[in-house]
Symmetry: none
DNA sequence: CATGAATGAGCGTTCATTCAT
DNA sequence: TATGAATGAACGCTCATTCAT
């Protein structure tokens, strides 16, 4: 009797509406923050009744879980696209980071929402699973990048685990900085340095 | 008419009680997460009536603001102590990071609370000021470390802004990883690498 | 387009299912009371989907209306049988009441449902018509009993209207008592007295 | 933390408001019937927010329970007054019934509400206790009337239990008739006969 | 200094019903 | 004939906050 939420939209109309609600939730999260994003607000933003939000997503928690998944999907896709778009695979490491950074900072609301959900995930098992899944996919993506670089004659001078963890942590930390302070010169310079460091870890053979 | 919250406790008893409430709030935040930490729960944890929480701290927001300040204070103090405790100032960079990491991961609840508040701060002006203030102090502390290293004959090969931003972002990113996955081997290795990189940026003259 | 509910069941299967739903509703009403008897509960009890209940009976109100009619039918039939079964018509008054009481208290759920519907009928025009109709038939039945008694040489010493109204009110009042307190000695004695009084009102010529 | 509902009004204002809500509920019950009397409707009728209804009365059920108690109180008081007002105690039986009937039919809403609650009580333990309590007090009152009649030289020719049960059942049955059909001639005549019968059961010595 | 009363906002559930196929 | 999807209404619970003392 439940509409299976987002994963299996029962009817075109339902799917459209569920998607609209997710979009609205993302806008709210980006604009108002996690705790200020109430069901009513999302409903108003989406132009549906509050009841409908709970019809498509069983609870506030479930809505955010779906949203986290959706955000993760979008980010991973954006990152994938950014990497795939690289003409010269040899640049994978050099250009990769910059493209990924651009992809990640393209939508502020997305990031705010991601961090809201991430923080909440620390004490919420359900969100944690979703966020973990996203991060795992991120790690996989990074690992593939490393393999690609190697295939292109690069020699990775550090352990893959370290590289992956460092890049992920670096991304998160820098993104958090970006969220709070915006595009400051320091941040820009630091990103450049980070990128340079990464490149130095994967020199051409 | 208002008791000025924590900054100016009217009586010893009041001050004690206010502190107890702050402690309780920290425990709740660490255990239950930001949004699940309601005034009632804090009150129960502190063993006072819900109304009392609002008596000492004018609102939920104010409570968390106070808490953020208190957390920041503790962390900064811990970091300061960690650094001051270094016997050989020449090790400031090498050992500094490791001490600071230990200080930061000493109390998980503190970190959970810090991130909860940080995330919320993205869309909350008041919290933002407090969190910004904490980060500024963190940056100052890092800057002093750099100066200290220079005074001890080290040559810092990167721009101070970059170093400070990178270390802060690195700390945040790694801490977020630690919160979610705990003391994994990857994380440990990455921390080691991070530390090594920092050291390489500040070689002895 | 509508299946005319119970009165004109389209197919044997439909008729059977509609009857099952009515039976289930009666059980629910007897067990859970009027306001706790929801369509879902009836559906569960009948082993059909909630939607089906509304398919056979256009609304909750219509279902209860049908049920009231069905209950009325059953009770009237039971009363008729009870009276018809009297061997000596001269006992019509004496034994009649006792037989009718037995018929009425044979199925508690039936009575609970009847009173539920009756009370609701006070403010519901549709149910009121159905309940009124039932009471009218009850009154007719009582009137016939009086005629029968007269035909058997009894002399009715009170106005028929009074007799009918009194017996009906007596039945209702006693039934309400029975529902709430069960077969208490007081109730039994009172029924005996009521019966004796009725007999005294219709002495043999 | 709960306001103890009606039994112990915390403040004058609260008591007034709680009373207003009870009055509103009575009006709704009398006008719309039991199942159509929602919290919102009561709140609107009382001119308070729905939340307030649940603040003073913990639930819809509790509200009706309180209301039942209040109705019982009023009716018992009205009956008491009716009896106390009798100048010649010797008339207790004769005039008593008529006065009580007048008292009971003075407020239709009261009766509708009483029956709504009574019917619901059949399957609701909480309401049942309240309704039972009311009926017990009614029985006590009737018993006292019998004693009074005896004290005034009447000789009661039937068992007290029977008299009490019969009068109660008679009242209920006739009241139900009155609710459904109003002041019909039959009803009036029947009441007269009922009264006459009662008087015959308690002849002067 | 401390507290209980009062109240608006939010969440999530069940219910009855209509829509669309 | 039968059914799932969609939806407004009601209920009742928690939360944060203000009022009044």
């Amino acid at each position: 009797m439940r509409p299976m939420a987002f994963s299996a939209p029962p009817t075109p109309k339902g799917a459209r509406q569920a998607q609209e609600i997710l979009d609205a939730a993302l806008r709210c999260l980006g604009r108002d923050g996690f705790s200020a994003t109430s069901l009513s607000r999302v409903a108003d933003e989406a132009g549906v009744s509050k009841r409908m939000v709970l019809y498509y997503f069983d609870s506030r928690e479930a809505l955010f879980d779906q949203l986290a998944e959706s955000i993760g999907e979008r980010l991973i896709t954006a990152l994938d696209d950014a990497i795939d778009g690289l003409e010269d695979p040899a640049e994978a490491v050099t250009a990769g980071f910059s493209e990924m950074w651009t992809a990640i900072t393209a939508d502020r609301a997305l990031l705010v929402a991601l961090f809201g959900v991430t923080t909440e995930a620390v004490t919420d098992a359900r969100l944690d699973r979703t966020v973990s899944n996203f991060k795992d996919r991120f790690r996989d993506l990074l690992r593939k990048q490393l393999d690609l670089a190697r295939a292109n004659g690069r020699r990775i001078t550090v352990d893959d685990d370290i590289a992956v963890t460092a890049v992920l942590a670096g991304f998160l930390g820098l993104a958090l900085e970006w969220l709070e302070r915006g595009d400051t010169p320091e941040l820009e310079k630091t990103i450049g340095a980070f990128q340079a460091m990464l490149t130095s870890l994967a020199p051409p053979a």
